[in-house]
């Protein structure tokens, strides 16, 4: 009795409804030769029936699966003897409910089952069986009912096409608002958890504290588990890695964009550009592997041979590799803006006797500067948000340091480490990850808005 089976059945009913609706329209018109008396093409009557059969049924199914669990749990909890729930924290109640569910499904249970729990589990499995049956019946009834409704309404004068089209338009509007909903979802989800975090830890401590040690102590006498949430070392670490990355990416990316768009022969350009862009298509986890297993040991050896003390997870290795990743990003954005500079400006400069490099430096770059700055800002936002390279190649130790050979940690690394361990969802550690996520989202959002605005303005200038 899988939900996916039901979905397939509903889809089958929809195609049946399409067929039946179309047939019915032709018959009601008085045969295939007289379909010109119909308001719309027979296909639209079919689609009309299919939509009536499908949409209500699928909506019901979606709502049912979304709320079934919650309702069942409430029902089962209401029947539990009060003595079992007395004095339990919400977390402990959740554990108890989980155990009951596991007991019902025959999975491993974390405690010895009492008769009350067994009874609750039996009730739970009974209820869920009833619920599944009820859902099947309800959904199938909706589908068949919708089909019958459409069948009854199919008459030659019914404006089937207009109705189908207005349903399609509603669907299109819903689809395009998903983008807005995503942003809203991101903002709400990080904001909500962050606010709860800031109730426990003051924002001042978070944004200006210099000690980051998110392990909260389980026992009072535990060493090294202070639960300090001062994020400054994370910010400086992120800043250092991104700065190194930009120091690599901006000169190389910009110069290769200039060379490829102004100097390179067409033949060289036609293969060099796509090859460079391969760098943009390589997954970040591959860069992370490359940074951790090839670049970091290499830098360490190099530093050792020069008598320098290099951490095995140095900021330099992560930053260098991240820079390589960002090269194509910078170069393709700068190439776009360089190409957008009107040819007349170049010609004017040449006519005055400037060499090509002088034209580039004195005319093209200044003219393209806003666009380049916009591109670089976008690249910075990407460097700040990059996760896998730093997770694999930068360290976990939150050092407040300006030495690129030291190990640093970044905002994204901490989000990953805080959320991939085992802890309950409302511990300060988890919520700290969301507060970091909020910071990350806000900073990148501001960078992106500014950058996109600059690029847009710039484009309009030369159009």
């Amino acid at each position: 009795m899988q939900t996916s089976t039901l979905l397939i059945i509903v889809l089958g009913l929809m195609s049946l409804a399409y067929y039946v609706g179309r047939k019915r329209a032709i018959v009601s018109a008085g045969g295939a030769g007289r379909i010109s008396t119909l308001h719309s093409l027979p296909t639209y009557y079919g689609l009309y029936a299919a939509l009536w059969a499908g949409i209500p049924a699928i909506l019901l199914m979606a709502l049912w699966t979304a709320f079934q669990d919650e309702i069942l749990v409430t029902l089962v909890k209401a029947e539990l003897p009060g003595s079992m729930l007395e004095g339990l924290t919400p977390g402990a109640v959740g554990l108890l409910v989980n155990d009951i569910k596991n007991l019902a499904s025959g999975a491993i249970v974390s405690r010895v089952a009492t008769p009350e729990m067994q009874a609750a589990a039996d009730r739970f499995s009974l209820f869920s069986q009833i619920a599944v049956w009820a859902m099947w019946l309800g959904v199938l009834a909706f589908a068949v009912g919708g089909m019958a409704f459409a069948w009854a309404r199919t008459k030659p004068q019914m404006r089937a096409r207009n109705r189908v089209e207005s349903i399609f338009m509603v669907i299109l509007v819903v689809f395009s608002s998903i983008a807005i909903l995503t942003t809203l979802g991101i903002v709400l989800s990080v904001l909500f958890e962050s606010l709860r975090f800031f109730q426990e830890i003051s924002p001042l401590d978070f944004f200006f504290g210099t000690l980051w040690s998110p392990q909260t102590a389980l026992r009072a006498d535990q060493v090294g588990a202070t639960g300090a949430f001062g994020a400054v070392p994370l910010f400086t670490g992120t800043l250092m890695v991104s700065t190194i990355a930009m120091l690599v990416a901006v000169p190389i990316g910009l110069m290769s964009a200039i060379y490829l768009s102004e100097y390179a022969p067409r033949r060289v350009r036609s293969w060099a550009k796509p090859t460079l862009e391969v760098l943009a298509g390589v997954p970040t986890v591959v860069y992370g592997f490359f940074a951790a297993l090839t670049v970091a040991p290499f830098i360490r050896e190099l530093g050792m041979s020069m008598g320098l003390d290099v951490a095995s997870e140095s900021a330099l290795a992560a930053g260098l590799v991240m820079g390589v990743m960002i090269i194509p990003f910078v170069s393709s954005l700068s190439e776009d803006v360089i190409n957008a500079v009107p040819q007349a400006m170049r010609d004017g400069s040449y006519a005055l006797g400037a060499t090509q490099s002088e034209t580039i430096r004195r005319v093209i770059i200044p003219a393209a500067l806003p666009g380049i700055v916009g591109g670089v800002l976008l690249a910075v936002s990407r460097a700040i948000g990059e996760t896998m390279i730093v997770v694999m190649a930068a360290g976990l130790a939150a050092n407040l340091t300006a030495n690129p050979l030291d190990s640093v940690t970044t905002v994204t690394v901490q989000i990953v480490t805080l959320l991939t361990g085992d802890q309950e969802f409302d511990s300060a550690k988890t919520m700290a990850a969301f507060a970091l996520g909020l910071t990350l989202f806000a900073v990148t959002l501001v960078l992106n808005v500014i950058a996109l605005q600059i690029v847009r303005k710039y484009r309009e200038q030369y159009e």
Binding site: I258, P283, I327, T355, E358, M388, T444
Partner: protein, 435 residues
């Protein structure tokens, strides 16, 4: 320089000032050009280095070391009652069979510690291989067969030269004694490297020699199919509405700015969204292709929408006007005429979005895809991992043998990505139309 001028007389005319500076300016021009060329070459070198490094590390993972032993399927150990009952056969002690085989191959080894070292040359997965052989063909019992057994990962590393035989014994994972045995086996032709089918047919494992990418590949496959099913219709629909039907007002402006911004939001933030909304609020099961696909769909939507809008924009208005002119409704115009013409561009954008989704790791770490799952997933709601996350997990493993497995998995991932991008390029070449 003009040599008609009197020596010593300072140049007066502008042309002379220019001429005097020409040499310097041309040198500067050449330098600038060289710097540009150097930047391009440097960039290309990085591409080369990256690929060379991965291939150099990973190509050896496609073969695996096997040891040939004369295995006697002793009836006494395997089936003492002689009933050929599958349950007895499945539960029998195949470890002992292998031990006996090793003893017959190396009769001189008798000391307890040495026998244990000898047994550890064979992978811990070998007994189950023998069991499967016997279960498939119970007539083997009582016979002696030459069987190629999977070697342990240390032996494999030794054979592939990743463990240097010339190092002093104390710094080497494989001891002198074992090296001597391997050399004996080599001289008898009883050890060889064969194509590594395990790598492509099994799920992950703690033992490098038994670890494969099949589970992660299937997980990636299910995730990608679902991502495509969710994001393609939504992306095309949204693009169609925004580009063709939406009134130009503040609201659509906001949606537009918003989509451009979403395309640049760090991917890890989508992971936070997935964790807080899909898992915590809607109760979608963790570690499944379903939740991964939901997150990745939201992530790839902006890419698809932006590409689809560009494709719609490139269809000339005359097509729409002609369709409207012969009486098609606005939606019919789009569905029957504009959309088919814009489809290649939309598909290209979708393939690029899917390639992004295939290589994405960070948001999936948040939604539980890093669980250790051995089984090959069987559907959209069975727990699984995906290829990039598998790479991340293996990269973290300390065994030397996992380095080559990780690199090999990366090679497989890159191969898929290159195929997808080639597909996108071909599609563009084949169907791109200039109006």
């Amino acid at each position: 320089m003009s040599n008609s001028q009197a020596a010593g007389a300072p140049p007066k005319r502008t042309i002379d000032v220019v001429n005097a500076s020409l040499k310097r300016r041309y040198a500067r021009e050449r330098r600038f050009r060289l710097v540009g060329l150097a930047a391009v070459i440097l960039g290309l070198t990085f591409v080369g280095l990256l690929f060379a490094d991965i291939i150099a590390k990973g190509h050896t993972a496609f073969v695996q070391t096997y040891i040939q032993l004369p295995v006697t399927f002793e009836a006494q150990t395997l089936d003492p009652a002689g009933t050929r009952d599958p349950e007895t056969l499945a539960g029998a002690n195949y470890q002992a069979v292998i031990r006996d085989a090793l003893r017959s191959e190396f009769p001189q080894v008798t000391e307890r510690r040495a026998t244990r070292a000898l047994a550890s040359m064979i992978s811990v997965g070998a007994p189950s291989h023998l069991r499967d052989m016997v279960l498939a063909n119970p007539d083997l019992i009582g016979t002696t067969r030459e069987v190629w057994l999977l070697a342990d990962d240390d032996i494999d590393m030794l054979m592939k030269g990743h463990i240097d035989r010339n190092l002093p014994e104390s710094e080497r994972r494989v001891k002198d004694q074992t090296v001597a045995w391997v050399e004996q086996l080599e001289s008898r032709g009883r050890i060889e490297k064969r194509f590594n089918t395990i790598f492509f047919t099994t799920g992950t494992s703690r033992e490098p020699e038994l670890a494969g990418i099949a589970g992660a590949l299937m997980g990636s496959f299910y995730t990608l199919v679902l991502t495509l099913l969710i994001s393609f219709p939504i992306g095309v629909g949204a693009a169609l509405y925004l580009e063709e039907f939406a009134p130009k007002n503040r609201w659509t402006d906001l949606i537009e700015v918003n989509i451009n911004n979403l395309a640049a939001v760090p991917s890890i933030v989508f992971g936070l969204l997935g964790l807080a909304v899909f898992i915590s609020i809607f109760g979608v099961p963790r570690s499944t292709p379903l939740v991964a696909a939901l997150v990745l769909s939201l992530m790839t939507l902006p890419t698809i929408i932006i590409a689809s809008r560009a494709a719609l924009k490139s269809v000339p208005p005359s097509i729409r006007e002609a369709a409207l002119g012969v009486g098609a409704s606005p939606l019919q115009t789009q569905m029957h005429h504009v959309l088919p013409l814009a489809m290649p561009g939309m598909l290209t954008g979708t393939i690029i979005g899917m390639a992004q989704a295939l290589g994405e790791t960070a948001p999936l770490l948040m939604i539980g895809m890093i669980a250790f799952i051995v089984d090959i997933p069987s559907g959209f709601t069975s727990p699984t991992t995906v290829l990039p996350v598998q790479i991340f997990l293996w990269a973290d493993s300390p065994e030397r043998a996992f380095v080559e497995r990780t690199s090999a998995a990366i090679m497989v991932l890159l191969a898929f990505l290159i195929l997808m991008n080639l597909g996108a390029v071909l599609l563009r070449r084949r169907f791109e139309r200039r109006w």
